[in-house]
């Protein structure tokens, strides 16, 4: 049992040291002999045991005596720990690959591959930004009326992606281009739900609603521009007017619509619909009924949409 542990440890150390590489080869030979039910004739295990005992004995005779007596059981314990930790490490790698976090979808906690937690941060709807955990809330699209929201239709059998985001939220701004790329690459259907998580950005909800109402085609250009724009200027109505005009809108018509009482009422209804999803931060992306909170790597969205072999499609 000791050979297996030694082989793995020495293989890693062997990357940096030639002497350990040689020992790793001996350990491998020992492992191969053991798995084919032959005795280990290289004396590798004896050699390593003696070396370990020689090291321990200079620090503690009692420790060395204990180690000598229970070397085999200790080897088994370390073996199981190794198997366990290998399983959890592999699981962590898989989860990171598929969800962007070693701990699973939308789970916070330290992940060695994402030490700063970039993939799990989001802007909270209560304006505390950033946060990383929403507790055990169940996010759902059930009972949510999506009919009035901007919709970019894909091809036949297009899979729907519902994106809840805010122009002023850094995390939404990071995720949005990836979702657009995904929609373009796989011909998915995109439904955009604007939710203002920043102060004074309610106004942009009305602008968006009106722009889509006036010209659904040009709306997506406007949307792209607002997500890419300098966010400190999004509260500046004059700036927004400029963006509207760049997208080919009549800014006055949009402004007029935005200040209409009817628009305010509809937007309030829409925000109420968004809240029915139980979402607690932006961006929240529903793909195939799976909710992904925070800006994930592109592959995570792609896997959620097309499966693990997305890159073959």
């Amino acid at each position: 049992m000791f050979c297996i542990i030694a082989f793995i440890v020495l293989s890693i150390l062997g990357i940096f040291s030639a002497s350990n590489r040689q020992l790793a080869k001996e350990a491998l030979d020992c492992v191969l002999r053991r798995v084919t039910l032959r005795p280990c004739t290289t004396g590798f295990d004896e050699k390593m045991k003696a070396k370990i005992l020689g090291y321990v004995i200079t620090r503690s005779e009692t420790g060395a005596r204990f180690l000598n007596r229970y070397f085999e059981p200790l080897s088994w314990i370390f073996f199981f720990l190794l198997v366990g930790s290998t399983f959890f490490a592999a699981r962590g790698v898989f989860l990171y690959y598929t969800t962007g976090s070693c701990n699973g979808l939308n789970q916070s906690g330290f992940c060695v591959f994402d030490p700063t937690g970039q993939n799990t941060q989001f802007s909270s709807v209560d304006e505390s930004c950033p946060v990383t955990s929403g507790g055990d809330v169940v996010l759902t699209l059930e009972g949510v009326n999506l009919s009035g929201f901007p919709r970019l239709t894909g091809g036949a059998n297009a899979k729907p992606i519902v994106f809840i985001g805010s122009y002023g939220c850094d995390y939404s701004r990071k995720a949005y281009p990836m979702i657009r790329r995904l929609v373009q690459r796989y011909g998915a259907e995109l439904i955009f739900l604007y939710y203002p998580v920043k102060e004074h950005s309610d106004y942009l909800a009305k602008v968006g609603y009106c722009a889509y109402k006036l010209d659904p085609q040009r709306f997506w250009d406007l949307n792209d521009r607002l997500f890419a724009a300098d966010k400190s200027r999004l509260e500046d109505e004059a700036f927004v007017q400029g963006v509207l005009e760049e997208s080919g809108f009549n800014a006055q018509s949009v402004q007029f619509c935005a200040k209409d009482f009817q628009t305010e009422w509809v937007v309030k209804q829409q925000l109420a619909e968004v809240r029915k999803t139980n979402f607690y931060g932006t961006p929240t992306v529903f793909i195939q009924n799976e909710a992904l909170i925070g800006p994930k790597p592109y592959r995570v969205y792609a896997i959620a949409l097309e499966g693990l072999l997305y890159w073959l499609k």
């Binding site: 004896e46 050699k47 003696a50 070396k51 005992l53 090291y55 004995i57 005779e61 060395a64």
Partner: protein, 404 residues
């Protein structure tokens, strides 16, 4: 002579790189080399790295002169009758094989060996016995591993002994055989005598003429000389009669397409280009040993062996190989602990205190196999080892014994 001063000559004993200083107790395998030997080897490569005995230019002449001087130094060191009796080899093993190959064997010839020969002085004779239908006879030692002269006398008288081939000093337990008496009795029965003196030459004065031994071989690396060097001594008249072993360049004075004219000894036994650097280094080692003196060497080895033997006897379960009197064991202390793997002990000593010892069967498998002993740990000391080192060795071993 001051041991501290001697130690200063050995670069391997210097402390460096934050490591513990080595306690080198594997001298029976090979000794460390003093600066004088290293510099002599280096001098060849730096100053006259040319062929000896062939070319006429100045560098070649210099090498020829140095090699000739080396031969003369070795001859004097052994008190040989003439320098032509010294043949340079790669090691003792090559010397044994040379004699095994060059003697004129007949079916039924008897070869006598002891029961604790190094494989190098056993396997070549086994091959001779196989190839020439000769008989290999083993003279058993006493219970304490010392030489049994009566058993030897009986074996001598039992048949036509052509050659007595024995280890002068055993690498297993350090016991030196009564060589002069053995040679005398062998000659009385008309037998030749070959002595494997690999473990003798570095530790005690050997006078081949006084011994009247016919052949004697030893290695450079066990006497502070370079690796890959050795010497075979042979009485000149016997060497003349021997067939060459390896043949080729520098062994003949002339040749035709059909035949050749061999040179006289030692040239006819030194085929091809020789290890000139090694030979020059070997001469430096001889000179170095002479400068220390065998009195100093023997005194220090005895002191250490007595200290080690006494200490080992106090450790429970330790069994010494060979006679209990350390004075009979040169610089060698071989032991084993029942139920404890000898390699483990050696590895732990190395790991704990950088103590280098040999573990295993020390190329004397026949002795171990005959007695059902798995192996032993062998500590072999030399003139540069100290009592402090011996004490640390014993302290470490006591700790190991408590743990294993």
């Amino acid at each position: 002579m001051n041991i501290t001063k001697i130690r200063a000559d050995f670069p391997s004993l210097e402390v460096g790189n934050g490591r513990k200083p080595v306690i080198y107790f594997d001298n029976a395998c090979q000794t460390l080399r003093p600066r004088q030997v290293i510099e002599a080897v280096q001098r060849y490569y730096q100053e006259f790295p040319a062929c000896s005995g062939r070319s006429m230019h100045r560098m070649a002449t210099e090498v020829t002169r140095e090699v000739d001087q080396a031969r003369e130094k070795v001859a004097k060191f052994l008190n040989a009758g003439r320098k032509e009796e010294i043949i340079f080899t790669r090691n003792t093993t090559e010397g044994v094989n040379l004699i095994a190959s060059a003697l004129n064997w007949k079916a039924g010839d008897v070869i006598l060996v002891s029961d604790k020969e190094h494989n190098s002085n056993l396997i070549p004779w086994q091959m001779v016995a196989k190839r020439h239908s000769a008989i290999l006879r083993v003279v058993h030692t006493r219970a304490d591993n010392t030489f049994d002269m009566e058993a030897f006398e009986q074996a001598l008288k039992a048949g036509p002994v052509k050659l007595v081939a024995m280890g002068y000093t055993s690498n297993l337990d350090g016991v030196t055989i009564p060589a002069a008496e053995i040679v005398k009795r062998a000659h009385q029965q008309g037998a030749l005598v070959f002595l494997d003196a690999a473990q003798t030459i570095p530790h005690q004065r050997v006078n081949v003429r006084a011994l009247d031994v016919d052949f004697l071989a030893f290695s450079g690396h066990k006497m502070m000389g370079p690796s890959g060097t050795g010497v075979l001594y042979g009485k000149y008249r016997l060497l003349e009669q021997l067939e060459p072993f390896l043949v080729g360049g520098d062994t003949v004075s002339s040749s035709t397409y059909e035949t050749c004219q061999f040179l006289p000894p030692p040239e006819k036994f030194e085929a091809g280009l020789q290890d000139y650097a090694g030979i020059i280094g070997l001469a430096a080692a001889v000179q170095y040993i002479q400068s220390i003196g065998f009195d100093t060497i023997e005194k220090q080895e005895r002191l250490l062996n007595e200290f080690l033997s006494e200490g080992l006897e106090e450790i429970p379960g330790v069994r010494l190989i060979g006679p209990s009197d350390p004075r009979l064991r040169s610089g060698i202390v071989a032991f084993y602990i029942e139920g404890v793997d000898h390699h483990r002990i050696a590895l732990m000593l190395d790991q704990m205190a950088n103590i280098a010892v040999r573990s295993g069967q020390h190329c004397v498998h026949s002795w171990f196999n005959a007695r059902g002993v798995a192996g032993s740990v062998r500590a072999s000391v030399y003139v540069y080892n100290t009592l402090e080192e011996a004490k640390l060795f014993l302290d470490s071993l006591i700790k190991i014994r408590k743990v294993l």
